[in-house]
C-alpha cells in the first residue's frame, strides 16, 4: 500500500499571459522503505512537487493521498496537523528556531506533539548524526553542515512516516553530503520510512531506490529500482 500517492496532480501559477504550469499532470506513488530522488534543473518544478506532496500547498487539480487520507481538500488547520504527524521536512535553508538550543528544538516538538522518539532513541539519533556534543548550542553557533544535521534530527524526531528533503545537502561538502545521504538511507530502511530527496546533485542518486527526473514540470521515472 502506497504511503504517498498523487493522482493527476498539476499546479498552475499566475493567470492569463503569465500563467505557467509548474507541475504537469503527475501520477506518483511512494512505498514504505523507499528512498526516492527527484532531480532536475532549477525552475523545473522540484520544490513545487515536494511541497504539494507534503501538504504545504494545494494542487490546482488532482488528489494527494497521505497514509490513506485524501488531504487535497483539507483546510490549512487540518493539513498542519497532518504535517506534524506524518511528515518531516528537511529544508535547504535552515529551518531551526534561532533562539532555541539544539535540544530545545526537540523539546518544542514535545510541546505540540506526543509520541516522539524516546530519550534513548533520540540519543542514538544524535550520535548517528554526530551532534551529541552540540545539544546546548544555538543555531547561530553551528556551521552550515551542523545546522543541516540538526534539521535532519528535527525531521526524524517526530517519527514521521514520510521525510521530504529539499536539497538537504546543498550547503555541505561532499563528504558530509554523502554522510547525510547515508543517514537518510539508514532512517528509511531501518525504520521503514519513505524519503523523497530533491536535489540537483547527481552524485547522490546512488543511494536511492528510485530516481525521478523532472523537466519543465514533467515528472518521469529515470531508472527502475536496483
Amino acid at each position: 500500500m502506497a504511503i504517498l500517492e498523487m493522482n493527476q496532480v498539476n499546479k498552475f501559477f499566475g493567470s492569463g499571459h503569465t500563467e505557467i504550469e509548474a507541475l504537469k499532470p503527475t501520477n506518483f506513488q511512494a512505498e514504505k522503505g523507499e528512498l526516492i530522488a527527484v532531480i532536475g534543473p532549477s525552475g523545473s518544478g522540484k520544490s513545487t512537487f515536494l511541497t504539494i506532496a507534503g501538504g504545504l500547498q494545494t494542487p490546482t487539480n488532482g488528489k494527494v493521498i497521505i497514509n490513506e487520507m485524501d488531504i487535497t481538500s483539507l483546510k490549512e488547520k487540518k493539513r498542519s496537523a497532518i504535517r506534524l504527524r506524518e511528515i518531516g521536512f528537511v529544508l535547504q535553508a535552515s529551518n531551526l528556531v534561532p533562539f532555541l538550543t539544539v535540544s530545545q528544538q526537540m523539546q518544542l516538538l514535545d510541546k505540540v506533539k506526543k509520541h516522539n522518539l524516546s530519550a534513548e532513541k533520540l540519543k542514538e539519533l544524535y550520535q548517528s548524526l554526530g551532534i551529541e556534543d552540540l545539544l546546548n548550542s544555538f543555531p547561530s553557533d553551528l556551521s552550515g553542515g551542523e545546522r543541516q544535521r540538526v534539521a535532519i534530527a528535527k525531521a526524524l524526531y517526530t517519527d514521521p512516516s514520510i521525510i521530504l528533503a529539499d536539497e538537504p545537502t546543498a550547503s555541505l561538502d561532499s563528504d558530509r553530503a554523502f554522510e547525510v545521504m547515508e543517514m537518510l538511507k539508514e532512517a528509511t530502511t531501518k525504520n521503514d520510512k519513505t524519503t523523497i530527496v530533491v536535489t540537483h546533485d547527481t552524485r547522490l542518486i546512488d543511494y536511492c531506490d528510485k530516481v525521478y527526473n523532472i523537466t519543465d514540470g514533467r515528472l518521469s521515472l529515470k531508472q527502475p529500482s536496483h
Partner: protein
Amino acid sequence: MFLAWNEIKNNKLRFTLIVGVLMLVSYLVFFLSGLANGLENMNKEAVDKWDGQGVILTEESDINLPQSSLTLDDYNGEGVDEYASLAQINSIATSDDHKSNVSIFGIDKEEFIMPNVIEGDAFAKEGEVIANESLKDEGFKLGDKLSLSSTEEDLTIVGFTNNAKFNAAPVLYTDLYTLQKVRYGKAAENYEDRINAFILRTDNLSDIEVPDELQVVDTTTFIENLPGYSEQNLTLTFMIYFLFIISAVVLAIFLYVLTIQKVSIFGVMKAQGISSSYLARSVIAQTFLLAIAGVIIGFILTMITGFFLPAAVPVAFNYLDLLVYGIVLIFVSVLGALFSIQTIVKIDPLKAIGG
C-alpha cells in the same frame, strides 16, 4: 510559554525595552491614580468625616456651601435619624510666620459633626478651635493664636483632629458663636442663627420634605459640586484612560515589528506542522509575561517614590484602584498583542521555505 520564555531569555535587550516602556506607563498610571485619589481626599475628607448621607442647602446656592444661607429654624429634623447644623467660611490663618488657607466650620458641640480630638482638648470657650493635624506640618502648634484675614478676631488652637480637609483647606472646628464673630464681628449677635447647611443622617433621603427655597442633596452630589472637584477628577481620569490606549498601541507596534521580523521563523514552524494557535498563544503568553513584569516593576517604583515624597504632595494610593489599573494595563497590552495574531495566522509556510 516554552517558546515565549526562551525567546525572551535570548533577546534580553529588546524585551527589556518593552518591559521598560510598560514600566514607565504603569508608573505614570499608578502615580496619576495616587494623585487623583490624594486630591480627591483633600477635597472631601471633612465630608467623609461627618459621615452623613445628605445635605440641606438653599435652592439658590447651586449646591455651593458658602453660597447657601439659611437659619437654624428652617429645618427641625423631620424624617431623619440625626441632623447637624453647619456654618462655614473660608479664610487665611496666620500665626507668627506660618500661614495657611483654612476652612472654618461653626458647629454645635453636641451634634455629630463634632470631630474626634487626637491631641489637646475640644473647644470650650469662645475663640477656641480644633484644627486639622495637617496644620502641624505647616508649623502650627497647640496654643497658637491665629489671626484671620477677614476679621480682627483671634482664634486659639486648643486641639487637633485628623483627616479633616475641606476643598483642599484644613478645617478649623469651632462653635457657632465664634464663627459668627469671625464672620460678622460685633454684629454677630444679630446673626447667631445664620448657618450654611444642615447635614443629615438618614437612610431615606428622598422622603425628606423641605420648603421650596431649600433643597436636599445627597452627599455624592454635594462632593461632586465642590469647586474644581469634578474638573480635576475628570482631567486625571482622562489622562489615565489615555495611558491605557497608549500602552495598547505601543505594545501593538512593538509586537507587530517583532512578529514581522519572525515571519520566516514562524513560517518554518508552521511548515513543520506547529499550529497557528500554538504560535499565537505563545505570543499572548509572552506579552502577558512582559506586561506583568512591567506593571510590577512600575508598582514597586511607585511605592518607592511614594515613600520619599514630601507630605505636602497630595498623593494617596488606593491599593484597590492600583490593582484594577494594573490588571487593565495587562489586559490592554494583551489586546495590543492580538493585533499581531492575524499576521501570524496569515503567514504562508511555503514562503518561509522558499523554492
